[in-house]
């Protein structure tokens, strides 16, 4: 278990000390959301109606941006080969990476989301639902992202292909994430999100480990 914690600490340290990646992601998230009023006009009623969808789209895009750093640097400097030979199973190492990835690329977005909600004229009640849906849904996005990043780690132009592979898988998350805004369906949608996240987080490390082992040998 200590190897697992060491892995998690390593990932967090690399992310936090590695030159402002976290800040860039948050900035990207806020800017994507802030562009919307320019694209559709600053009509407060319209903005309030589309705000949940826009926040989810911005979060989805921002999380895609961070994927390159999940396995890319480790593949380049050879750490991935060492991780495959380590005593800690590769699946567990990837689980640690997945948790770290969520902590550095999803949690900051959720912390920054009130700012975006204000810019997009969102009601307080809607915001609490979106906050809950983001907290429950982003682990699934991170897990699908890990699978996509693992599949494309050996591809030289993988940065462009991973989003294409991940987007179709992420559609259910977006559907239930935005669906949680409607008061009558809110509870059911949040339960679905939680179920999706639990399933995706449980399976993704094994699938990603299988993909990496297949690509490297």
């Amino acid at each position: 278990m200590s190897a697992f914690w060491a892995m998690l600490r390593r990932e967090l340290r690399l992310a936090l000390r590695g030159g402002g990646n976290v800040l860039t992601l948050v900035l990207f998230f806020v800017i994507v959301g802030a562009i919307v009023p320019f694209a559709v006009g600053p009509d407060r009623v319209l903005l309030a109606r589309i705000a949940p969808g826009m926040i989810w789209i911005a979060a989805f895009l921002a999380m895609l941006l961070g994927l390159d750093h999940l396995f890319g640097p480790d593949h380049e400097d050879g750490s991935l080969v060492l991780l495959r030979q380590a005593e800690l199973p590769l699946g567990a190492a990837i689980a640690a990476k997945l948790i770290a990835h969520w902590l550095v690329s999803a949690l900051p977005l959720i912390v920054a989301s009130p700012f975006l909600a204000m810019l997009l004229a969102m009601e307080a009640e809607t915001y609490w639902r979106i906050l809950a849906s983001l907290l429950l849904g982003t682990p699934a996005l991170a897990a699908f992202g890990a699978v996509g990043a693992a599949v494309t780690v050996a591809v030289r132009r993988g940065g462009l292909i991973a989003p294409i592979l991940i987007a179709p898988l992420s559609i259910p998350v977006l559907i239930f994430g935005v669906g949680s805004v409607t008061a009558s369906q809110s509870g059911a949608a949040l339960l679905f999100l939680a179920a999706l996240s639990l399933m995706a987080v449980a399976m993704a490390p094994f699938v990603a480990a299988l993909a990496i082992n297949s690509a490297e040998d």
């Binding site: 591809v155 294409i164 592979l165 987007a167 898988l169």
Partner: protein, 253 residues
């Protein structure tokens, strides 16, 4: 002694040799092509001249004879790909790779045709080309998955390594197939539920079912023919690549 202990090669391991596979299946190609063409002639004749127009929707009902087989194939091809993916991951069967690669563009094509004919049919009957209904959305997702897999195949240089990675992703994407199948029961919005294979029998008279089944077999045999031909092409492409590599390395091929 060692010769006695080696297992006798059965047809399964002999067919794993790409050359053997091509030699065995080439005689099948022409009969399959002729059969497909005959089925299409019969099916189209039934569809255009020997089946009743719908009493409400008129001649537009004939789009069904193209739409339903394409929609069936869009899922059948993915199942074929998933079984090939298992063959790649579990048995490392060399032809499973080839079958997986050959099926991906065909599946994308059939899915695109199913969506296109569905849009053409939806306009006069439902009054819209597109609706975000459960089955249409999940079929669109299937098209994206197919195109993603095609893009992934093209991105890898080493095709043997690509096969195993793509097999993993194909099996992840297979989760969409049951969603498409049951989408009409879970969200009954616009697309009609299953009406051919159901416990209480088909919801259509034989005059409509006959052309539907003929077209169904015509399209399925079209897929089988194209799949075989595409597998032959892929085997030849790999052989050429090997020869070119040897040539570059200065060996005599």
């Amino acid at each position: 002694m060692s010769i006695d202990t080696t297992p006798k090669p059965n047809w399964w391991s002999r067919i794993a040799h790409p050359g053997q596979f091509v030699a065995w299946t080439t005689p099948l190609l022409w009969p399959l092509t002729v059969l497909t063409a005959l089925l299409f002639v019969a099916g189209l004749w039934f569809a255009f001249f020997n089946s009743p127009a719908d009493y409400q929707r008129g001649d537009t009902v004939r789009i069904m004879y193209v739409h339903v087989p394409n929609a069936w194939l869009s899922q059948f091809v993915y199942v074929t790909m998933s079984i090939s993916a298992l063959g790649t991951l579990v048995w490392r069967h060399p032809l499973a790779d080839v079958s997986m690669k050959a099926a991906a563009p065909l599946g994308a094509l059939f899915t695109a045709l199913a969506l296109f004919t569905g849009a053409l049919w939806g306009r006069p009957t439902w009054g819209t080309f597109w609706e975000w209904d459960g089955r249409m959305t999940s079929t669109l997702v299937l098209l994206f998955i197919y195109l993603g897999i095609v893009a992934l195949w093209r991105a890898f240089d080493d095709q043997l390594r690509a096969a195993r990675v793509i097999a993993v992703f194909t099996l992840v994407g297979a989760i969409n197939i049951p969603i498409i199948k049951f989408s009409v029961d879970w969200w009954s919005t616009l697309h009609q539920p299953a009406s051919v294979f159901r416990p209480q029998g088909p919801a259509m008279p034989p005059s409509i079912l006959t052309p539907l089944f003929v077209m169904f077999f015509a399209f399925t045999f079209l897929f089988v023919t194209l799949q075989l031909k595409a597998m032959h092409t892929e085997i030849k492409r790999r052989r050429i690549m090997t020869l070119q590599r040897r040539l570059v390395q200065g060996e005599t091929p």
